[in-house]
């Protein structure tokens, strides 16, 4: 925090965004401008486009809602996640895998939560967790990759799209901006979900590592030389991506140091990811969407142990995260939304596992939910299609709701169709 006293730093760290008035808002922007201009003056990077971008007002508080997408990769078994504890068919179809009513964490007369998800149960009791059941899409595909594509691109099952729903959100927010930091993925690879037509989000595991890589002097000197050529061909596209990476990496790293979380998180991957996200959320960063994955939930064999281990990781990491958000008074502004590419079949297989199925549940975690608890009917196990659940709720309606009501984006433009909104936010 160059130019600021420790006291000022401490004050910034305890800033509560709800109370930031217009004056502070201007101060913040000025401070950021000061910092970035300062670093430009000392560095070798002299890119006219960046300067232009920094001069434009950076919209941080205009909409301060944040979405965290939690992808449960591999097809999480929804029936052992939100357990229909009074359903005979469930117990009949799963002689060895079913979770008894006593072991499940009771949510209602009909539903219990997986025993490893104690902290989600606590969120449920506080009114900060909502559950959507039977979410899916018509004509479900049972291939992981294809079904994941459908969820990530928000396509119908019979169409192939090459851009992701959050990438198209980025396109709509960031047509001409110099760093696509509105959507970030905590990973070494960028998911299709965050890849737009014009803009692509940034994937990173660790802000410092991304920064160090992008600060390679050779890299930066090439970029300096290359940015001067302005042509519309793949060459200039590569330089554009490079410049967005350098600029984005610098911005993310500076932000990650502003108010790093002091809370103890588990040392798991998801623990580290959520700690980074918590730190960034309490900074001044313009990121609106974070994307993380947990997996693999592809439990064809030994489901009990695998799912319990992964849920254990999730459970331990979600607590410090929501605690962080609460103590920073940001929990009302952050929505965590989980999904998986499909659920699993109702009947267990012969290997202590379950095979690929269809509809599934989604978790919604936030201090700002308007509807909480179990939002719709539990799965109807007496009405199956070839042993699989029937979807009752198209996942694209959930996306439309989040885009429109939470991110204040044009859901029709991003999804290409108009979907009916839900009422959880």
């Amino acid at each position: 925090m160059r130019g600021f006293s420790p006291l000022q730093s401490a004050l910034w760290a305890h800033r509560n965004t709800s109370y930031v008035n217009a004056k502070n808002n201007i101060m913040l922007i000025n401070r950021r401008k000061f910092l970035t201009l300062g670093s430009l003056a000392t560095g070798t990077l002299m890119l006219p486009k960046f300067l232009k971008a920094f001069e434009a007002p950076v919209q941080v508080f205009g909409g301060n809602k944040v979405l965290v997408v939690l992808q449960l990769s591999g097809g999480n078994d929804g029936l052992n996640t939100v357990i229909p504890v009074r359903n005979d068919i469930y117990y009949r179809e799963r002689p060895s895998l079913s979770i008894s009513k006593e072991k499940a964490l009771s949510l209602s007369d009909d539903a219990g939560l997986h025993p490893s998800l104690t902290n989600l149960k606590a969120l449920y009791d506080e009114g900060n967790l909502a559950i959507l059941n039977n979410v899916g899409y018509p004509n479900p595909d049972r291939s992981h990759f294809r079904s994941m594509d459908i969820w990530q691109t928000a396509s119908n099952s019979d169409e192939v799209l090459n851009t992701g729903w959050l990438g198209r959100y980025l396109d709509s927010q960031c047509m001409d901006c110099s760093r696509p930091t509105q959507v970030l993925e905590m990973d070494d690879m960028l998911s299709l979900a965050l890849s737009g037509e014009h803009m692509k989000g940034i994937a990173l595991r660790d802000p410092k590592r991304l920064y160090d890589t992008s600060q390679d002097p050779f890299f930066k000197e090439m970029l300096n030389a290359g940015m001067n050529q302005q042509t519309e061909d793949p060459g200039s596209y590569l330089y554009k991506v490079m410049s967005e990476t350098v600029s984005g990496a610098d911005y993310i790293f500076q932000q990650s140091k502003l108010r790093p979380s002091a809370t103890v998180y588990p040392n798991s991957e998801i623990g580290k990811d959520l700690k980074t996200i918590a730190s960034l959320i309490s900074s001044d960063i313009n990121t609106r969407v974070y994307y993380i994955s947990l997996g693999s939930f592809d439990t064809h064999v030994s489901q009990q142990e695998k799912q319990a281990k992964l849920f254990g990781d999730l459970n331990e990491a979600i607590k410090p995260f929501t605690d962080d958000l609460k103590s920073n008074c940001r929990f009302e502004d952050v929505l965590v939304m989980s999904f998986s590419e499909f659920g699993r079949r109702v009947g267990e297989n012969g290997s202590g596992g379950t095979d690929h199925g269809t509809a599934n549940n989604m978790f919604l975690i936030s201090g700002g939910l308007t509807n909480k608890g179990i939002l719709n009917e539990m799965p109807d196990l007496s009405n199956l299609t070839e042993g699989d659940l029937n979807q009752q709720l198209d996942f694209k309606r959930v996306y439309a709701t989040v885009l429109n009501k939470w991110l204040q984006a044009d859901d029709y433009k991003i999804l290409g169709r108009q979907y009916e909104y839900l009422n959880f936010i």
Partner: protein, 484 residues
């Protein structure tokens, strides 16, 4: 730069996988027409089929097995079979990469890579995968009619697009739809009725458990169908024939070939001319490719260095330009995964979208770091995402096998010995002052904005060899090296 050199390199990159190190001295001497002739000639040889499947696995599958016995396999046995199959598909992947790297039939393999993305399937069955690849490699430069007929009858295609489930009274339209949308006429050139009617024509097309095409007359719908204005008891073969009578099929295929081999930005006039010829010559792929690579416009400035290399082309191209022995070949699959092009695992039935879709901040940064990683036998710090379709709950063998691990799980080294002697000898006669330009002109198909004087501080000048090595590694880590 010498005019012939740029053109020859352009030809090597587009009709093959980049200029090989042992041809560097020829690059400025040969005429492009002559080079194309020799690449074409080498590509006309009948390919040696790949067979990497485990003999015991093959033995097991080749025995006629009653459905009852299939069902009686224990879960562990099924798991073992799947595991072996997945391992063998990795072997096939590496085998093909090696062929692309060292094989003489460059155009055939490049063409096969194109068809592999066109007839995109993904199975976890090594026998299906290698059978389809062999069909593709056999017909890659042959006749599109033969290719289409043979591919449509492979187990890989029949399984991937669910034609095994396409039965009289219960048609499954998946194959019929993709056949028109992606393989022949393209979207907008057929109706939903065409899909429904042709799906009925393909009823009964199935495979034996061993993966042989098997027509099941009792599942075939013999009733009258109407397709593209033709009415009768149409068979699946009739549907393919009718689609080939549509000039739109020739246009659709030619446009896709043009975008892959020439330029993503299409020139409809040229495509029409080429397509007409392709159609009139009865879908002779070889003839079409000769027309493209013998034309003057292929060498137009706007077509040179205008494409983003696919990850496979980029990787194989590096191996061709900089000969190396890779000690842990599976590490190449990690790069394929991190960069988004795993052979035998296209993202979906539409294949790899290509072009700008290859590049985002992570993939570009990684591509630019890899030459240095190879040079130092260094670690790849990025970890690819899981592919659950392939792993099916198993351990990730590409990440687990033959790989030194660091604290960070999934981290692995690219252990390779670069054969510098073979490479450096190409510059024996180059004067000191022109070494940089000589290497640059071989490696880059496009002008690099950063000039030599700014590069110097990044070059190891301690010896002539060190200088050549360091210039080479630096230039391979540039944005321009991603283009061809």
């Amino acid at each position: 730069m010498n005019k012939n050199q740029l053109k020859n390199q352009h030809l090597w990159w587009r009709a093959g996988f980049g200029p090989p190190a042992d041809q560097v001295k020829e690059l400025s001497k040969q005429r492009p027409e002559k080079l194309f002739h020799s690449i074409l000639k080498a590509s006309e040889e009948r390919p040696v089929f790949f067979d990497v499947a485990d003999p015991e696995l093959k033995e097991m599958v080749s025995q006629p097995m009653s459905p009852g016995k299939m069902l009686s396999l224990k879960p562990e046995e099924r798991q073992m079979i799947r595991k072996q199959s997945v391992q063998d598909i990795s072997k096939l992947n590496i085998r093909w990469l090696d062929e692309m790297t060292t094989g003489e039939a460059q155009l055939r393999e490049k063409m096969s890579l194109f068809w592999h993305g066109h007839f995109a399937t993904k199975t976890v069955n090594i026998l299906y995968d290698q059978a389809l690849l062999n069909v593709i490699r056999q017909h890659a430069l042959g006749n599109f009619r033969d290719l289409l007929f043979n591919v449509s009858k492979t187990a890989s295609m029949i399984q991937f697009l669910n034609n095994n489930q396409n039965k009289k009274g219960h048609p499954n339209e998946n194959f019929a739809r993709e056949l028109m949308e992606l393989f022949t006429v393209g979207r907008g050139h057929y109706t939903e009725t065409d899909v429904k009617e042709s799906a009925r024509a393909f009823t009964g097309w199935g495979t034996t458990p061993q993966g042989e095409y098997n027509f099941r007359p009792r599942q075939h719908d013999d009733a009258v169908k109407t397709f593209f204005g033709k009415t009768g008891n149409l068979s699946g073969e009739d549907i393919l024939e009718i689609l080939l009578t549509q000039k739109q099929t020739a246009i659709f295929i030619t446009r896709k070939i043009y975008r892959f081999f020439v330029n993503e930005i299409v020139d409809e006039e040229k495509i029409n001319g080429l397509a007409t010829q392709f159609f009139e010559n009865g879908y002779d792929i070889r003839g079409l490719m000769i027309s493209i690579f013998s034309s003057d416009w292929f060498y137009d400035q706007k077509n040179i260095g205008s494409q983003i290399k696919s990850p496979v082309l980029w990787l194989v191209g590096m191996r061709r330009q900089l000969p190396m022995e890779i000690q842990n070949p599976l590490v190449q699959l990690v790069l394929e995964r991190l960069l988004g092009q795993v052979l035998f695992a296209p993202p979906n039935v539409a294949g790899w979208p290509g072009g700008k879709h290859w590049i985002d901040s992570s993939s570009l940064m990684l591509r630019m770091q890899v030459p240095k990683i190879i040079y130092r036998s260094d670690a790849i710090l990025s970890k690819p995402k899981d592919d659950d379709d392939i792993m099916m709950g198993m351990r990730d063998q590409a990440l687990a096998k033959n790989i030194k691990r660091l604290k960070n799980p999934g981290t692995q080294f690219f252990q390779a010995k670069i054969l510098w002697d073979e490479y450096i000898k190409n510059f024996n006669e180059t004067t000191e002052g022109s070494i940089y330009a000589a290497i640059r002109d071989i490696l880059l198909q496009r002008v690099m904005p950063m000039n030599e004087s700014d590069m110097i501080k990044y070059i190891d000048e301690s010896s002539r060899d060190a200088r050549i090595q360091s210039i080479t590694i630096r230039l391979m880590g540039t944005p321009e090296y991603q283009l061809c």
